[in-house]
C-alpha cells in the first residue's frame, strides 16, 4: 500500500468508527499498521523541490557560461566556489536540524549536486581544459553520490542513476580500457545498494525510484554487453547476434533478482525488473520460434560463450535460479529458462557450419508452450503465477506458427477466430474463479 492509499485509509477510519463498521481497537490497530511516515518525501514534494533546485542550478550554469571576461582569474574562481560553499552550508544546516521536511532535504541535496557540477565546469572554462563531457559526468556523479545517502535524497539518487546510465551508454564505444568502459557500471550501481530490489529498508522505495533504477540498470548492463561484443578484424565492429543473447541473459538475471518475502508479496507492477525482464525474455523466446533468426541466435550464443562477461552472467543466473527455486518462484523460473534455450540447442548443431535446421524453432516452440502451460497450471494448483500471461503466450504461439505455415487463408482465419474466442473464454473463466486481484508473479 503506498502513502496516498494509507492517507486515504486514515481519513476514512473516523467515519467507519462512527458508522459502527470498525471497533475503536480495530481502528487503532489499522492506524498503527498504516501510519504515514511524513519524513519520506511524496512525489509532489520531490518534484517541487527538484524543480526549484534545477531552475537555480541551471541559472547558475548559464550565468557561468556567460564567461565573465572582464574579471581576473581569482575573481572568476570565486564565482565558482561561492555557490558551492553556500549550498554546502545550506545542506549542513539541514543535516544539523535533523528532522527537516522532505522537500527541504531534496532541495538542499539537489542544489549542492548542481553547484558541484557548475564549479567543476567553471574551473574547466577558466583554464581552457579540454576533455570529454562523459569524463566530467563521471566525476560529477561520483561527487554527488554521498548526498543521496546523507540527505536521504531520492532526487539525487534519480539524478545519479540517470547520469551513470548516460555515461555507460556513451562509453560502449570500442577500444576503451575497462576502467573507462560500461564494465564500471555494476560498481557505480553498487553505490546505491540499498535502493536495489530485495534490500530490507525501513520504508519501501517509491515506484518512481524503482523504475528509474531498473531502466538505468538495463541501459548500463546492456551497454556493457555491447562493449564486450566488440571485435576487431580490419576495423572495430560489434556482433549484434552476440549482445542480443547477453541482453537476454541480463533480462533473466533481472527477472530472478532475489527478493525478500515483503518484496515477493508486492504486486507485479511494483517490480519493474520482473515486468521488463519477463517481457524481453518472452519476446526473445517468440523470436526464436521463427526459423529465419535461428542462425543468428545460435551464432550469437556460440560467440558469446567465448566472453568472460557471458560466463559471469551465467554464473549469476545459476545462483539466482537456485535462490528462486528455494523461494519457490516457479513462474519466473519458467520464464527465465527461455534464456538458456540456445545453450540446449548448441551441442546438437555445433560443427555443422550453417545452422539452418529447425531444431531451435521446435525447441523454442515446445519450451514456450511448456512455459505457458506451467503458468496456467501453477495458478490452478494455488501457487503464485500469471495464468492470463500463460494463455496469451499459448495464443501468440499458435498465431505465430499459423503465420509461417502453408495453410490457406481460410484455415488461418478460422484458427485465429478459434484462438481469440478461447482466449476470451479463458479470461472470463479466470475472472470468475478468482474474484480477487490478480496475484503477483513473485
Amino acid at each position: 500500500m503506498n502513502t496516498s492509499h494509507q492517507r486515504w485509509l486514515l481519513e476514512q477510519l473516523p467515519q467507519w468508527e462512527r458508522d459502527g463498521l470498525l471497533t475503536a481497537d480495530a481502528a487503532r490497530t489499522l492506524r498503527e499498521r498504516h501510519a504515514v511516515d511524513d519524513s519520506q518525501p511524496g512525489l509532489g514534494q520531490i518534484i517541487m523541490g527538484a524543480l526549484g533546485a534545477l531552475l537555480i542550478g541551471t541559472g547558475l550554469i548559464a550565468v557561468i557560461g556567460y564567461n565573465w571576461d572582464d574579471f581576473s582569474r581569482p575573481v572568476r574562481l570565486l564565482f565558482a566556489f561561492l555557490p558551492l560553499l553556500a549550498t554546502q552550508l545550506f545542506s549542513f544546516r539541514v543535516l544539523q536540524r535533523g528532522a527537516a521536511a522532505a522537500w527541504v532535504r531534496e532541495t538542499a541535496a539537489l542544489l549542492q549536486a548542481l553547484a558541484t557540477g557548475a564549479c567543476i565546469a567553471l574551473v574547466s572554462q577558466i583554464y581552457n581544459l579540454g576533455g570529454e563531457w562523459p569524463d566530467f559526468l563521471f566525476w560529477w556523479m561520483l561527487l554527488c553520490l554521498p548526498l543521496a545517502w546523507v540527505l536521504r535524497s531520492h532526487a539525487v539518487a534519480i539524478f545519479y542513476l540517470v547520469g551513470i546510465a548516460i555515461w555507460s551508454l556513451n562509453q560502449a564505444e570500442h577500444g576503451k580500457p575497462w576502467h573507462d568502459s560500461p564494465l564500471m557500471y555494476p560498481l557505480l550501481l553498487l553505490g546505491l545498494l540499498p535502493y536495489w530490489p530485495g534490500w530490507k529498508g525501513k520504508v519501501p522505495l517509491s515506484i518512481t525510484v524503482r523504475w528509474v533504477m531498473t531502466i538505468s540498470a538495463i541501459l548500463g548492463l546492456c551497454s556493457a554487453a555491447v562493449f564486450m561484443s566488440a571485435y576487431r578484424e580490419d576495423y572495430y565492429s560489434y556482433r549484434d547476434d552476440t549482445f542480443v543473447w547477453l541482453w537476454t541473459l541480463t533480462a533473466a538475471v533481472f527477472a530472478l533478482f532475489p527478493l525478500n518475502q515483503d518484496g515477493m508479496d508486492e504486486p507485479t507492477r511494483c517490480k519493474p525488473q520482473v515486468v521488463l525482464g519477463s517481457l524481453w525474455l518472452l519476446g526473445y523466446g517468440l523470436a526464436a520460434t521463427f526459423r529465419d533468426v535461428n542462425d543468428d541466435i545460435i551464432r550469437g550464443a556460440s560467440h558469446a560463450l567465448k566472453l568472460p562477461w557471458c560466463w559471469g552472467l551465467l554464473a549469476v543466473l545459476v545462483v539466482f535460479m537456485l535462490l528462486a527455486s528455494a523461494r519457490r518462484r516457479w513462474a519466473l523460473l519458467a520464464i527465465a529458462s527461455v534464456a538458456l534455450l540456445p545453450l540446449i540447442a548448441l551441442p546438437f548443431v555445433h560443427g555443422k557450419g550453417e545452422y539452418s535446421d529447425s531444431l531451435l524453432t521446435w525447441l523454442a516452440t515446445l519450451h514456450l508452450s511448456a512455459v505457458g502451460i506451467t503458468l496456467i497450471v501453477l495458478d490452478f494448483t494455488g501457487r503464485r503465477s500469471a495464468p492470463r500471461l500463460g494463455a496469451a503466450l499459448l495464443s501468440v504461439l499458435i498465431l505465430a506458427r499459423m503465420a509461417d505455415s502453408e495453410f490457406s487463408l481460410l484455415a488461418k482465419g478460422i484458427t485465429f477466430i478459434i484462438v481469440g474466442s478461447a482466449f476470451l473464454a479463458f479470461n472470463l473463466l479466470m475472472s470468475r474463479l478468482h474474484r480477487r486481484p490478480t496475484p503477483a508473479i513473485a
Binding site: 550554469i61 557561468i64 557560461g65 556567460y66 564567461n67 565573465w68 571576461d69 574562481l77 565558482a80 566556489f81 558551492l84 554546502q88 545542506s91 549542513f92 543535516l95 544539523q96 535533523g98 549542492q112 558541484t116 557540477g117 564549479c119 567543476i120 565546469a121 567553471l122 574551473v123 574547466s124 572554462q125 577558466i126 583554464y127 581552457n128 581544459l129 579540454g130 563531457w133 566530467f136 566525476w139 561527487l143 554521498p146 548526498l147 545517502w149 546523507v150 540527505l151 577500444g175 576503451k176 580500457p177
Partner: protein
Amino acid sequence: MKTLPLLIFAIAALAQWAAPLSQIWTHEQVLTKGTLIKLKCSAPDPYDPLRGRFLAVRPEQSEVSIPLETKFGPGQRVYATLTTGADGLSTVSSLSPTPPASGEFIRLTINFSSGEKAWINWPFDRFYINEKLAPEADKWFAENIRGDNGIIAEVRVLNGRAVLADLSLDGKPFREILKERVK
C-alpha cells in the same frame, strides 16, 4: 545529530572542493612555471552548453612520423618531444612511450597509427570566450585562420602537462584584438 552522516557529508564536501582545487593547482603550476611554446592553429567554432562559447583550437600538426617498428594503439598515452623552428613555432618531432630525458615535451594520446605515421590528439582543444565577444571572435577566426601568419596558440608546458594560455595574431593577444574590434 548523528556522527556518521555528518562525517560522510564532511568527506563529500571536502571531495567536492578537492576535485576542482587539484585542477586549479596543477594548471596554475603550469601557467606560472611552464615554458611558453607556440603552435600554429586551424579551427572551427562550436558551443559547449555547459561551459559556454569557445573556439575549437586545433594545432595544425596532426600527424607525426614514427619508426616502422614502433606500434602505438588508439588512445595510448605517449610523450611528444617538441622542437622550436626558426619562426619560433613549435612542432612535435618524435613520440615515445616514456618521457624524454631532456627538452620540452607534452603528454598526449594517439588517435591511431599506421605504418610510419601516427595521428595525435592534442591535450587541449578549446579556448573559452565571453558570450558577448563570441560573434566577433567567429568572424576574426574565419578571416585569419587561413592567412600566412595564421592564428597562434600560446601554450605553457611543464613536465608533460600543457595549458592553453592564449591565442594571438602577429604577436598581439586575441582578447585585445577582439576588444578593439567591438569598440
